[in-house]
Symmetry: C2
Subunit: 202 residues, 2 copies
């Protein structure tokens, strides 16, 4: 598997990192090839297509990079060894803190970067929509488990409570993008604890 031919003149990894930030900030449609190439270290058009294939293919890689880095704040939601309540609220807390951090674009790339647009980018939008649906399902199953385990009341409206918690998670992105500061978002999540407690079995 020898690597022959002229070596790449730029850091592919750093280029993806730069692309991720641009997509995160301006969205898929709002990030032009021109801006992309400049933000990836000033690479040429030929280099871009040789290395990444297309804008959509790069977006896919940038999304993966996000999920493997900043997007890991939802890891507790994926950890089935944690109690349901902790899975949800730890995810919310970490999301609030990360999304309001101004050392990178605010809000969540999955929520913001490919939400609307023309009909031609349906496939791109489907990528993030799938992630959001996955989170939604995981939240719902947490609530279901808590009811089954007797932690939450059997009278709990599972779909409703799950949707509310999912909505809170999604709403963080828009608030963060609107400049709502970190401590306010964190306080909001702490306030949300009341939702769980109000539905506890007694």
């Amino acid at each position: 598997m020898a690597r022959t031919g002229r070596p790449r003149g730029f850091d592919r990894d750093a280029a993806i990192e730069g692309a991720m930030r641009l997509f995160w900030h301006h969205g898929y449609d709002g990030t032009s090839l021109d801006r992309l190439r400049r933000g990836m270290g000033g690479i040429s058009s030929a280099s871009f297509y040789a290395a990444f294939g297309s804008k959509a293919a790069l977006y896919r890689e940038a999304l993966d990079r996000y999920l493997a880095s900043h997007g890991r704040v939802v890891a507790p939601l994926h950890d089935e060894s944690l109690p349901p309540r902790e899975r949800i609220f730890e995810t919310l807390k970490r999301s609030a803190r990360m999304q309001a951090d101004t050392t990178h674009p605010t809000g969540c790339l999955v929520t913001l970067s490919a939400l609307l647009g023309g009909d031609e980018d349906d496939a791109v939008r489907a990528l993030t929509a799938k992630e959001r649906a996955s989170n939604r399902n995981r939240i719902r199953r947490c609530v279901e488990q808590a009811v089954t385990a007797g932690e939450l009341s059997g009278l709990t409206n599972v779909e409703g409570l799950a949707s509310l918690l999912d909505g809170i998670l999604l709403g963080l992105s828009i608030q963060a993008r609107d400049g709502v500061p970190s401590q306010v978002l964190t306080a909001a999540i702490e306030t949300a604890d009341a939702l769980w407690n109000a539905n506890r079995a007694r």
Copy 2:
């Protein structure tokens, strides 16, 4: 104020309505002049600019149209004669119902249509950002009033609870756009009542 000259060949009002739906569905950037003109009744380029001035100016009119029609679901939030709790939850209930209605684009135009994009449309984005900030402030003042009136506990984290409620409102848009059905969103809002009750003064 006599009206001279050749009369307009299309219904300006219906054209704005069509534009509003397109901006609502595809966002500001995602709606091209071409699609716009077709969706406004097949008017010509010259007619478009004679009647509306520019794409941005039309968006402004479409936004106003939205605020005066479907956007009126937030009217309770503006009605200072209502008790704070009712102002907030009536707004949430109406928003959930309206935004999940599939007879028009799902979600909220103010929340979705001008959220991201290139640097050139800052002015357009500011229009909806201003509306969202206004709603945020109104929600916060409702919570403040409820605390002052002794309805909510003096220990309530006002900023936190307000942000949480605002986040729920904003999150509805993304959930609705993701296809979450009306009854689920409505159930979510009903569940949110617990937030208010948990903070009641005792």
